[in-house]
Amino acid sequence: MIIAVASGKGGTGKTTIATNLVLSLEGSVRLLDCDVEEPNAHLFLKPRIESTTSIGIPVPCVDELRCTACGKCGQICQYSAIVALKTKPLTFPELCHGCGGCARICPSGAITEVSREIGTLEKGRSGNVEFVHGRLKIGEAMSPPLIRAVKKYIRQEGATIIDAPPGTSCPVIATVKDSDFVILVTEPTPFGLNDLMLAVEMIRELGTPFGVLINRADLGDDRVRDYCRAQGIQVLLEISNDRKIAEAYSKGILMIEVRPGLIDTFRELYARIGDIVSSGGSKGLPYSSEKGEI
């Protein structure tokens, strides 16, 4: 099963939930950290890195001897990355999205593709957990190609837990697309609710089954619960604010190490998600709320 852990608001506990969930499961499990702009799952999983690969996107290289200055490459480019004036084309590799359109459309075969590095992919292991993450190069604006490279390590057997970036834009959509289920981690505050609503809107567009996990659940107010109830969204789990967990977190220590009772809680969460997915999604399920026992 492929489960993406997303949020809306940053800092709600995506990485916390993703890492503790994957380590609570047995068998063939893996964690893919797709927050390539700021990967942090490795701080808690502490994997032994086994390989590092450079990941690039294809950018155009023009053979000026073959170019007839027809201008078709500049016309097809949506990003101003290749511009055909009366003379030979100019390329701006930093604007290129690697769509391959210019190379395809060139009638003289003057455009070949060369790789421009956008980041690296690291693969490793932490106990029984296979670990993969991407590190986007500093100054690089485009994460989806690197996210797609990390997602190549998704496998159908066992559990694939994907740690998503915060927010609801391009990188998040590239991450959660084609997952079996999305856990939306939120906090019971006005900011949490605002961004949760945006995330719900996004996930509904994608049509993926999803549920909400309320972290630090005894802080704030009831508006998130009221919203979920009104929207028919299942609250899968509530985790109370716990200073011991917070202190451990600040040292890179997992919550299941200081509160081992949560291991069973996460296993049950996984099983419940499995039931939802195999019964065809969580649309129309009544509001219910499971409290996690610490």
Partner: protein, 120 residues
């Protein structure tokens, strides 16, 4: 000779727009006939990226040989240079004044961009 001046409005007494790529309006002026044409640039004003490149391409297509503006970014400058268009930066005042200054030979052409790009 055709020249382009970036303008904040459609009238000849509009202020020169200090931006090039995201200028609201381009005034195409023919020094031989004294006639001008108002060219809308709002598509590039609103572009997510490549505004300077697209504006430069547009200036090239208009057949201009010289651009007069306030500032010019690196990608726009590179594109204009490849198109053989001279770039004058630091122009101020109205479009009419800019044209007079140009005719009086008061401007020097730029050797390089004078500002960074906005996006990357």
């Amino acid at each position: 000779m055709k020249i382009v001046i970036t303008s904040s409005g459609e009238a000849m007494d509009s202020q020169v727009d200090p931006r090039f790529g995201r200028a609201k309006t381009l005034i195409l002026f023919d020094t031989e006939t004294g006639l001008h044409q108002v060219v809308d640039n709002t598509q590039n004003l609103n572009a997510a990226q490549g505004a300077g490149i697209q504006a430069a391409e547009h200036v090239s297509r208009l057949g201009a040989q010289c651009l007069i503006t306030g500032h010019c970014g690196p990608k726009a400058f590179r594109t204009l240079q490849a198109a053989g268009i001279k770039v004058i930066i630091g122009a101020e005042g109205t479009v009419t004044e800019a044209i007079e200054n140009f005719r009086a030979g008061q401007y020097t052409t730029a050797e390089a961009a004078d500002v960074d790009g906005h996006w990357m």
